[in-house]
Amino acid sequence: MTATALSRRAQDWLPAALVFAFGLVAWQWLLPDVVHVQRFLLPRFSAVMSTFWIERSSLFAAGWFTFKEALGGFVLGCSTAFIGALVLARWKPLGRAVLPYAIAANAIPIIAFAPITNAWFGLLSPWSKIVISAVLCFFPVLVNTLRGLTSVRPESLELMRSYAASEAQIFRRVRIPTSLPFVFTALKVACVLSMIGAVVGDYFGGSTTALGVQIQSSVALSRYETAWAAILVASILGIALYGSVALAERLVVGWHPSTREHRE
């Protein structure tokens, strides 16, 4: 990398870095001292950080407990949705009939069903959060995968048919590769939803070792610094999951223009 390229890159990132610095300054001094934002609304940055550092082991233990639930829900929900989309794409009339309902199901506040999964699997069982996360992930992945599988160019299908390719071969060689960019878009949405399912599901009750329960009880006990530190942990884990999916996307569909676009 030449010096000009380096300085151009620095110029690209300078505004973002400045905003970051300004954000920290505002959080630490401007909001509490000038605007008089009280600590129950947003505690000082340094207070959140020191709480984060002091309670890091218990916070990350809770985070890891919740992250496993989110990951379980993500894997369960996305894989069922992918298989469901394959089935629906294979039998087109069925897919056409079901698609509007899957889209409508996307509009249901599914997370509000968390008390019901609690009742099904038991309040303390991780399965209650895994299943609500899975259901949250299911519909976006189903809808997007189905769109991807059916948005194949007709010429490609004709070409495959002219080679006397079987339906299974068409799926393997044309439909699934074409659908992958759609699938990854949905997976990125789903990984955020899975974290939301695991954390917010706790707000309707859950094990005290879980992150969401700790957030809620910290707020109830006016330990706002702990609550924000727990949000920080949830965000770190959320970004880690999102980053892994984005990385997998680059490795798997690096050839596709939509991923190359992100790289600029």
């Binding site: 905003v19 009280q38 249901i108 509000a112 009742a119 939301i196 809620q216 707020v219």
Partner: protein, 299 residues
């Protein structure tokens, strides 16, 4: 002659519309029947065989669907109003939070999107954070915001509970709208841009006459996501601080009596689902009226 032809064409059109509405209604009935069959069949099979995996099925975990619907028309407490009327009032309360939140969030999101797209410095400075905010579970801060704003006093004024919840709804609405506004404003056809430049059109003319109209499909797909998100935000915002007047409060309340009357919680969740779908359908309807030229963005 032409009027007769027009009448005939109109009639044929109306007949076709009726037929498609009928077939849609048929599919809807079929899907509902299939869901009902799946639910009752699953229930029957698990109870008959006594399977305990993934969870034990009984009247508590999976009430009869007809019992859930019947519960809506039972009094919510002895001598009280019917459950459906109680839930209707809760739904109106939650809808108010969601609508106010949506309106504020969508306007702020749109204006911020316009500002970001117009100034490169803003784009470089803010865009990474707008994108990063999509990767974290924002909904999780609901308890802090609702409880925190409840402790706030500005000249002796504390925001009403519904207003605090509306803040959550606004917050969830805002991000998708910002992201899609920026994407939409940048999606203007380059040839049209060149044409505008060749007419020496000013920055504002290009923005309002070309960029904003071409952003409409993007904007509306964000509105559809946000309409749902605002309902989720309103329900979840009520839950952790137990604001009793809305659906979130009703869910918390009936959750405590789940072992006694599971149908009530299920019925509440049915109403919540209906509210979410209503918001989505309204956004879809407005889109169909406003964006006629973009069939690929309809579904």
């Amino acid at each position: 002659m032409s009027t007769i032809a027009a009448t005939i064409a109109g009639r044929a059109k109306a007949a076709a519309a009726t037929r498609s509405a009928l077939s849609r209604g048929g599919v809807l009935a079929l899907v509902l029947a299939a869901l009902w069959g799946l639910w009752e069949g699953y229930r029957w099979l698990w109870i008959a065989t006594g399977w305990g995996w993934p969870f034990a099925v009984d009247d508590i975990t999976m009430p009869h669907l007809h019992a859930i619907v019947a519960q809506l028309f039972e009094p919510s407490r002895t001598g009280g109003p019917l459950l459906i009327s109680v839930l209707f009032h809760s739904a109106v309360f939650t809808a108010k939070e969601a609508v106010v939140g949506f309106a504020v969030g969508a306007s702020v999101g749109f204006l911020l999107g316009v500002a970001i797209s117009q100034f490169r410095v803003l784009q470089r400075g803010l865009m990474p954070y707008v994108v990063a905010s999509q990767t974290i579970p924002i909904l999780a801060i609901a308890p802090m915001v609702v409880v925190g704003l409840g402790n706030m006093q500005v000249a002796g004024w504390t925001p009403a509970p519904w207003l605090r919840v509306a803040v959550i709804a606004a917050y969830l609405t805002f991000f998708p709208v910002t992201v899609n506004t920026i994407r939409g404003l940048q999606s203007a056809d380059p040839r049209a841009l060149e044409l505008m430049h060749s007419y020496a059109a000013g920055r504002w003319a290009v923005l309002w006459k070309l960029r904003v109209p071409s952003a409409m499909p993007y904007l509306f797909s964000a509105f559809k996501v946000s309409a749902t998100a605002s309902v989720v935000g309103a329900i979840i915002g009520e839950a952790p601080s137990s604001i009793p007047d809305g659906l979130g409060g009703a869910i918390i309340n009936f959750n405590q009596y789940y072992a006694l009357a599971p149908e009530s919680l299920w019925a509440t969740n049915l109403v919540a689902a209906a509210l979410g779908i209503t918001f989505f359908l309204v956004a879809l309807g407005v889109e169909r009226v406003a964006v006629r030229r973009a069939p690929e963005h309809l579904a």
